[in-house]
Amino acid sequence: MAALKKAAASAPQDKINGGSPPEFTKEQEFKALRDMLLIRRFEEKAGQLYGMGAIGGFCHLYIGQEAVVVGMQMALKQGDQVITGYRDHGHMLATGMEANGVMAELTGRRGGYSKGKGGSMHMFSKEKHFYGGHGIVGAQVSLGTGLAFANNYRSNGNVSVTYFGDGAANQGQVYESFNMAELWKLPVIYVIENNRYAMGTAVSRASAQQDFSKRGASFNIPGMQVDGMDVRAVKAAGDEAAAWCRAGKGPMILEMQTYRYRGHSMSDPAKYRTREEVEKVRHDQDPIEQVRNRLLAAKVSEADLKAIDAEVRDIVNASADFAQHDPEPDAAELWTDVYR
């Protein structure tokens, strides 16, 4: 455990409470482990199906970043909305959307969340308050601010969690949204998932201000840098930001320092970074191993952990099976859902 803790010089600095985050209960640790494992196994399977040609187009995997969505989700309550960009499978699973429906959308089948008409980057669930799934980099930031606007308009006490990456953080509409969110004190948590690369461009090559928690400074939006590889730190930051929003104090920015293990998309060989860099993060900071090691240190049996592995694998395998056998959408679906 000790060996895993922030050994790398480039490791994200935990700024929550100035030190290590509050411990999870055993129940929380199990939940975090299970939810993160589900995302990882799901994404591995999606990568496999893509390689087999069962999934087409773009497919952006979330492997490595699981602690961000799982920790944030643990800080939310029923009714809070989630919106993100195109690296969205993890967000959907974290909100409780069914693996079958997500995987079937990836394969373009009628049982997918968008009946096969949206694909990897465009899925939604009204029931789970998941507002997409957006393919235009940065567009979700204005939309997510609009969700917060609606919460404010309705005075419903809900918070909009608006995710975007270090790449999207350079888009103009992000700052237009920041301005209005603070001006109107909208309840929105801007979660900037800094995975260090905007496609193939390292943060240092694209961003004049690399501390993304300061990106709201000229609008007076407070921000925090968070160890996005430690699910407990994420949850603690999420709790603080949600409380801030619910108190009517306006938006907050959380920069989640995280890392994606795979390429930008399935077609990206990721030649812009070294294998050693990836291996080091995996070895030193892996979000799932952190929890597993804590549980083992707390004398949880290997058998209990294996049971979680098995449950998750069953869900993922069933979803892959469903997604490959579910029929394609009926041809008549071409013409539906253009207008209502």
Binding site: Q81, I83, G112, Y113, S114, K115, G116, K117, G118, H122, M123, F124, S125, K126, Y131, G132, G133, H134, G135, I136, A139, V141, S142, L143, G144, T145, G146, L147, A148, F149, A150, Y153, G172, Q173, E176, S177, N179, M180, L183, T336, D337, V338, Y339, R340
Partner: protein, 461 residues
Amino acid sequence: MPIQVLMPALSPTMEKGNLAKWLKKEGETIKSGDVIAEIETDKATMEVEATDEGTLGKILIAEGTADVPVNTPIATILADGETAADLAKAPAPAKQEKAAESAAPAAAKAEAPAPKAAPAPHVAEPDPEVPAGTEMVTQTIREALRDAMAEEMRRDADVFVMGEEVAEYQGAYKVTQGLLQEFGAKRVIDTPITEHGFAGIGVGAAMTGLKPIVEFMTFNFAMQAIDQIINSAAKTLYMSGGQMGCSIVFRGPNGAAARVAAQHSQDYASWYSNIPGLKVVAPFSAADYKGLLKAAIRDPNPVIFLENEMLYGHTGEVPKLDDFVIPIGKARIVRSGSHVTIISWSNGMSYALKAADELAKDGIEAEVIDLRTLRPMDTETIINSVKKTGRAVAVEEGWAQSGVGAEIATRIMENAFDYLDAPVARVTGKDVPMPYAANLEKLALPSVAEVVEAAKAVCYR
């Protein structure tokens, strides 16, 4: 020689105004920059500042005088040493003189021009949407739009208006006048100058079920926001398999105003009408503006509502009904005829209707169709008319290439080819950015003469 003060043009489209008040009396000393009078247009009261020094010699237009044409002498200023006896020497005003130089109106982001007040167009055919015997009220299009929004906001608490200057300023073009006072700042929201951002916020709010009316000060500025309009508003219903749509109206003036040049004078009708998932409405008459805006606000889909700044001050008869809603997607035959069909919408209708009057003098009876909605397009009404006349002319202020007229011509070709006695003709804006010079601007736009010529050509006359 005494200096004449002329009635100033306070905006690019102003032709006349009311002399509300004199702030200086005859005989008073005037310094350059002094406010000497207040002028009322139909949307604002503006101050007239003196640009010359001297004594106010004679007031030529009494306060309270209405409809004083621009460039009319309103007073004379006597220079040092001059007396009332010199008044007779004042020169007659030169027609081309730029009267606006004697006034300094407050500059907005885009100076909001006041429209021409012109009479309602000749309407030959009764509107089938209006029950016979309905009492009518005369309203400007500006008022009709305001009433439509106010009525829908009273009816549905989820409807709100957002945009630049819509609340405290009462609208850059005064279309949202009084809404803030009735509905408060929660529902009538001034935004920063940030089109991309507030369009996205509107769409996000609409995804949760609210019904925003997003005003663009003009559609020229909506190009900053077009990604949110098309990629987010128009496509989400489809991409979500029908789960999540977006009931939202994007509205504001579109197309050419007057003398505001290329970046403020573009017609976006064909751009938006290209997009499945959007509805596109572009009315001409005051009644249609009201009834269609109400329909647009209620529509569960994103609606692009294209207004025309030149028409805001036009008056028309609006039915006095509790709930006057015109269905989207229905064209209207405004004038019936048997020789040629002229199809247009929005301000294009002003050329079409005047051309029909001209043609009638030559014995050509034109049937004039106001499309009102561009998407979905009422093909049936066009085709039925062309089957009757065998000839068609499409009139639009936008450019010809990939224009709405091109689409109309194609639909006629596809559906009524065997009925055509001549190729379909188009009258469009010229294939150039809008020039500033008055003569060039006039040349760049369609004209009544061009519509008459095109109609005669398809009639082989």
